[in-house]
Amino acid sequence: MIELVKATKTYHSGGDEVRAVDSVDLRVAAGEFVAVVGHSGSGKTTLVSLMGGLTRPTSGTVMVDGRDIWTMSNRELSRLRSDRIGFCFQFSSLISTINCLDNVRLPASFLGDHKGDAGRAMRLLELVGLPEKAGAFPSELSGGQQRRVAIARALVNEPGIILADEPTGDLDEETEEDVMDLFEEINLGGVTIVMVTHSSRLASRAGRTLRMENGAVVEEVTRAPRSEYPLSSDSV
């Protein structure tokens, strides 16, 4: 489903070249739950951003569903981001000027279909346990509640892939568990999840853990798949 071939991303900082992601080869199958761990600056966020087409690799290829996403037109790439991928960021990513319900509906508006109607958005808010916050603005929510609304938003277009960059960062342990339970539930529904985390404890709940150092994947741990995991044979 997602494949990186010799994917490299370099930045220039103060005249120096920084290899945030260094020639990574990686395949993530449909329905997998992958955790990416590593120290700050190891390249985790850049790796996930490459997978989601948020940044262009300096060299190498990023493929989603067997297609090199950087050969797509801007319109096709935008469509891929809205239709196939849901993003959860490591910070509060809600638009502050609209209420929670409209935040959840927002990605659907870019598709121009009716997936994001108010009914569906409400059901997603119920799924994340916040139906009563539909009319509330992000500033009226706690950090944990904002993360859960962001997860609902990531799901509104029924994406096949969720890319989550430290979705539980700065949350208390109880809320962290709630969010992870939600991710597991979503994953059991067949959605591929790639999650960046600092926590080994949280990473242990994924089927596969990748450890990054200096932009490279230096360790890979695969756990015995749970029977519920809908691992499919159509991985690429």
């Binding site: 989601g52 948020l54 262009r56 801007n74 935008s78 469509r79 981001r81 990513s93 870019f110 938003r153």
Partner: protein, 286 residues
């Protein structure tokens, strides 16, 4: 007191308020300049009021718009009324008027577009006993001359303000885009196309300048209505509202210019915003 031919007059007509039928001016009616009532010793003049000149009673048919020039201090009646007044003055007035029926002092000539005033004056001067002067010689400080001298300067100042406004909108929206980098990156991450982001920024700018334009029209209108008398007096030029259709045209042109100002000012920031790479925008906007 000026006698005019209501059917052919073109000097008073531009200052006539709506509702006054100058063509239908009767011999016992008078049209007063904006300050004509002062010379009659009245606090104000209202249509329908009666006034007496040289023993002859007139009904005020209307009051002209303020002009800032001599028209304000005058009263306008028909030529027949002037002749009648002159005759009655012999019996009724202390100061006699030497005007016989048929006498005229001035024939105003409205030169058709495409003809030179000087050439027309030369042709008229060939008529024995008639001396023609052109308006420039007659009215060295005329309204037209004042406006002619003021207009280029005002247009230049206006153009300067417009350029500065466009640049300021550009600078303002560049700052706004910088402040909202993360939001723009997030929108792209959620599926917004570059075109969507471009259009969003442009629309915000155009909406802003349109609202500014409407506000400017309202405030400008209030200021003009409030200060029109003072403007006329201090500048010594006439103040007259153009015809309604012309005002509507000006308002429409002004609003279109406001929209264009917003669009031009935001063009560069909007282009820049649409070209942001989502990841960089989100990362640097944190």
């Amino acid at each position: 007191m000026v006698g005019i031919d209501p059917d052919t007059d073109f000097t008073v007509r531009p200052w006539v308020k709506e509702g006054i039928d100058i063509g239908g001016l009767k011999d016992d009616e008078i049209i007063l300049g904006a300050e004509g009532h002062i010379f009659l010793g009245l606090e104000e003049a209202r249509p329908g009021d009666k006034v007496v000149f040289y023993g002859q009673e007139f009904t005020i048919a209307g009051v002209l718009e303020p002009t800032g020039i001599g028209i304000d201090d005058s009263g306008y009646v028909t030529m027949e009324a002037i002749y009648g007044m002159a005759q009655l003055a012999d019996a009724n007035a202390m100061l006699q008027i030497d005007v016989e029926p048929g006498d005229i002092s001035v024939v105003m000539v409205d030169v058709k577009e495409g003809y030179e005033r000087a050439e027309v004056a030369t042709a008229i001067n060939r008529i024995s006993g008639v001396a023609a002067v052109t308006s420039r010689e007659l009215m060295s400080t005329s309204v037209a001359q004042k406006l002619e001298s003021l207009t280029p300067g005002m247009l230049l100042i206006g153009a300067g303000f417009w350029v500065v406004t466009v640049l300021m909108i550009g600078a303002l929206f560049s700052m706004v885009i910088n402040e909202r980098r993360r939001e723009l990156g997030l929108l792209q991450a959620m599926g917004a196309t570059r075109r969507y982001v471009f259009r969003m920024v442009m629309l915000e700018s155009v909406e802003l300048t349109f609202l500014g334009g409407v506000l400017g029209l309202v405030v400008g209108g209030i200021v003009m209505l409030t200060l029109k008398g003072s403007l006329s007096t201090s500048l010594g030029i006439a103040f007259l509202w153009p015809a309604a259709w012309y005002v509507a045209l000006l308002v429409a042109a002004y609003l279109v210019l406001a929209l264009a100002t917003g669009a031009m000012g935001a063009l560069y920031p909007a282009t820049r915003a649409s070209r942001l790479e989502p990841y960089q925008a989100i990362r640097t906007g944190e």
